[in-house]
Symmetry: C2
Subunit: 210 residues, 2 copies
């Protein structure tokens, strides 16, 4: 197993934190995305979508979506379980992850990728250029604020994003919050005490530095 | 177990086809979305996201994302497996489903929801109104055409979307193609023979009528 990785962006961090929580250290190949190495012919052979991370499986084939990568790792290394311990727990973690991806991760990506000058023509990741839409950046920023408010409400009576155990949903949400506040510079509204309490706790885990 | 369902839109169809392929017939409650029943106080208690479908689990709790619903059904009723039969097969099916969702399903939704007059202020599903962005509708239509081309290429040397067995990826992709061509009126480019061959085969399965 081998991970094509790069420091900085949110997606590979979701895999690195997952690996850290599992106590795993797998072979890594750093892709220099600042130099645009993901668009080179050589990397297109590895991943035609030109995105990082990529996990090379034991059989030599490769996958590139975070969801597929983390689920494969969960299956190969079940302890500690990060996708839940019962069908119902898994159902709620999967559900929670969906909303974190759609309302959180994609909203921040919309906000950032449709506005940052360095991402001109790169409004969506992938092999094709896509032009930015200024209105969509604005809509994305608003959606991120809604997402913060919704997360704060969800954390009112529970310690973790998807209930009372740490899970892959906490990894996803941590990365969204940091992606939003540090990279897209979207301020968290004041008074979201539950969200702040949760963020401090999750950030204090050693895995958060991965 | 109980499914809140409605005829017409693509998302509940993804669950109904999944159930049909499993040979399952579970209790269904029809939500009248043409009358806006999903925004009623009563339904908000069932699903604060105001979306259909919703699966009520055996413990009375509820989930509303298609991914979580179909995974729960897979776990409860493993035969025939629709998410793959080995860790590697599951990895590729999960990966394929991710791209079908992001590049297919969401692109069609962007195209339709940002342009249809009946969906004014409803550019995104959920409890909050979101204004349409005309440019995003146009970009969505273009992305759907790319998606058709990519699927056609993927099907060059394989019978099904994620390899050589029917899987949940075929369900997702079938619903995307029908959503695009029948509801969003996006024409499939001519000459995509692999995609047409695959679409005819998948549509001929009894489950496609679900």
């Amino acid at each position: 197993m081998k991970l094509y990785d790069c420091p900085g962006p949110p997606s590979p961090r979701r895999v690195r934190i997952f690996l850290a929580e599992k106590g795993l250290d797998i072979e890594k190949v750093i892709v220099n995305i600042r130099e645009g190495e993901q668009f080179n012919d050589e990397f297109r052979e590895i991943n035609p979508n030109c995105t990082v991370p990529v996990l090379e499986l034991d059989d030599g084939s490769r996958i590139s979506s975070i969801d597929a990568i983390n689920r494969y790792l969960e299956e190969k290394f079940p302890e500690p379980p990060l996708f839940g311990s019962s069908p119902e727990e898994r159902a709620h973690i999967n559900d929670c992850c969906h909303y974190i991806n759609v309302n959180g991760f994609m909203a921040v990506a919309e906000a950032l990728r449709n506005s940052a000058p360095r991402l001109a023509h790169r409004a969506i990741t992938g092999p094709r250029n896509v032009e930015q839409i200024a209105e969509l950046a604005e809509r994305g920023r608003q959606r991120v604020v809604y997402f913060f408010e919704d997360m704060n409400k969800q954390l009112e009576n529970q310690e973790f994003m998807a209930g009372n155990s740490y899970s892959v949903a906490d990894i996803g949400a941590l990365v969204v919050v940091d992606f939003a506040t540090k990279m897209a510079k979207i301020e968290m509204p004041e008074g979201l005490d539950n969200l702040n309490r949760w963020h401090a706790a999750i950030s204090a885990r050693p895995s958060a530095d991965a």
